[in-house]
Amino acid sequence: MLKTGKTLAALAVGLLTLSACGGNGSSSSAKELRLWHYETPDSAMGVAWNQAIKEFEQTHPGVKVKFEEKNFEQIQKTAPMVLNSKDAPDILEYNKGNATTGLLAKQGLLTDLSSEVVKRGWDKQLSPNVAETAKYDAKGVMGGDKWYGVPNYAEYLQVFYNKKLFDKYGVKVPTTFEELTAAMDAFVKHGVTPLANGGAEYPAQQYLYQLALSRADRPWVDRFERYTGKVDFHDPAWTYAATTFADWVRKGYIAKSTVSTKAEAAGTAFMSGKNPMFFSGSWWYGRFEKEIKNFDWDTFLWPGTRMTLGSSGNLWVVPKGSSNKRLAYDFIAITMKKDIQNLLANNGGVPVDADPAGVTDPKNKKLIENYRTLVTNDGLGFYPDWPAPGYYDVLVAGTQKLMNGTSSPAQVLDSFAKPYDENLSNVGH
């Protein structure tokens, strides 16, 4: 009895302390900029933004940046709730896209940055192709008229290749699509699966979408991603993509056994030298640089196409409830400055306003040059999972069926069309 009483008393005290210290961190004075992002400290963005924080504190004496490294999933799941409360930060990194920034903008939770973007000249630093994912219309669809975010880095897909394996089998780096298939044939002949793949996650659908993009143009992408016109999933581009992808699995360019593996497995298969090529995003770049010790590697853009997958990186957004908007804009301005942009590039990131002259490492330079090639060609084709909520899983299921051969390409394209059209009627297009 006595013991229980003691425990209860201790508990009561504990609870009091809990509630007493629970409320802190929520009040925001002009002396503090509350900043959230979810990049790891050793990634290119982590390094560059850390430096930006330092510069910000130097140029704003008396203002402290209260930075919190966030859990990606937490921001994804709770952003609308957090931004609608007094605990919202002054500025945060948030995913670009209709289902994320677009949705928050539509709900009125984000500040319209348009006048600031023009005033500070950020619109001139961002090519129209990159800016598309920063601007949204009243329905929250990207490519709109108002700026709700500012990206300071970009991302795109390229083929990472293992120089050692290319040399070993006497394969030369392909510059045309025919050379690419010839190279893959050569590897298959030696019993090596040329392409790393993860069928349970994004890699498979990115191969598929790249094949479609190689037969597509800008209006095609706009129709698909921005609902500017009717999308025909049985048009030549989609049909070519689905049949070729299924064909590649049959030919052994892509291992059928990767049907249920994850992107992480595809990356490690490339890093361990199992597959000589991996078509994936610049987000792998820093990790490959750090962790591949056994062979030399390099990159090339997908051959024989004007467009490839890519877009701006995540955005800086300013919540409507931010109490230090001016400071938030100042911080964005610093991340757009040349030295921060170059720092990003020198750490294996892709800055939006890149200057190859400011990059020292030759491989990093190539990363930037490839990016500039894409941007000048208006070649960023975005990602296939953007148009509808839950579309990622639809694409995973479809590509898995193609790999297993359980559905014909035409059936799989039908399975893509249905949720797409349902979403269209939901958003009122």
Partner: protein, 279 residues
């Protein structure tokens, strides 16, 4: 020993073998996690998750510890799980005393309500709880999580304990009543001591369940300084990247307190059970 061995039938060997297999199957994931916990990221990337580490590499873990202030997260988790376990057991006992022994009117329907509350997925609860906690000024406080989980665990505890207590020996209660004990006295002096093993089990379960909770703490503990261990571990799973080696290392760290807690209380549980049976 030899006598024992001779008595073993093929059947008991089969049981032994299947138990060993089961133990291996249960322990294998832990072994793999432990293996990867001490690898360098480069080793993991080039040789895969099943290779043996060349040496013990703990730098990643150290960096992670400092990066997320893991000590602070441990304190939060202990504080939250401990408070929930104690509060939920106390509330469950009080509820179950009324429902199981007191036999209040309509207790069956009340039990059904508790049972339904248990089957409710947490995703359904999120928005109502969010609005309530915001209105009460408790959003982004550890107290909000303590209150929510006390309620959730109590729903289960009440349901379970009510069934247990409805089978409580009536003679004991009557004897106490004849001796002049009031209701409160009967609860604390008769019911609680005799059902201590059950309460102990509930306590351990509540602690570990609350410790492992991810979704609601993720939603309600927004500030980094309020977060629990599972939420902090989520930092390692990025948008496109995962850090397999550090995740393994910190996952081990994260379950360690729960395992230690379980082992400590496991012993008192057994003792509690033997005491109960002696009576």
């Amino acid at each position: 020993m030899t006598v024992m061995a001779r008595r073993r039938t093929p059947g008991s060997y089969a049981v032994l073998v299947s138990l060993i297999v089961l133990a291996v199957v249960m322990l294998l994931p832990f072994v793999i996690i432990a293996l990867n916990a001490v690898k360098t990221p480069a080793e993991y990337s080039s040789h895969g998750p099943l290779s043996l580490p060349k040496g013990v590499y703990l730098q990643g873990l150290k960096d992670f510890w400092e990066r997320v202030d893991f000590g602070g997260k441990l304190v939060n988790s202990v504080l939250i799980s401990g408070s929930v376990a104690v509060l939920a057991v106390v509330l469950s006992v009080l509820n179950a005393y009324a429902l199981g022994i007191g036999r209040v009117r309509g207790r069956v329907s009340i039990m059904v309500v508790f049972l339904l509350a248990n089957t409710m997925p947490q995703e359904v609860l999120v928005y109502p709880l969010y609005f309530i906690s915001k209105k009460a000024g408790l959003y982004d406080t550890r107290l909000s999580v303590v209150i929510i989980f006390t309620a959730i665990q109590t729903a289960f505890g009440t349901y379970l304990l009510s069934s247990v207590l409805s089978a409580f020996p009536r003679e004991l209660l009557e004897a106490a009543r004849i001796d002049g004990a009031g209701r409160l006295r009967i609860l604390w002096r008769v019911v609680v001591p005799i059902s201590r093993p059950t309460l102990g089990v509930l306590f351990v379960f509540f602690f570990i369940w609350t410790w492992n909770e991810f979704f609601l703490p993720l939603v309600f503990l927004v500030s980094n300084e309020n977060q629990t261990v599972p939420v902090a571990l989520g930092v390692l799973q990025g948008q496109k990247m995962m850090d397999a080696t550090t995740t393994s290392a910190s996952a081990l760290l994260g379950v360690l307190p729960a395992i230690v807690f379980f082992l400590i209380f496991q012993r008192t549980l057994t003792r509690g059970i033997t005491v109960g049976s002696a009576k």
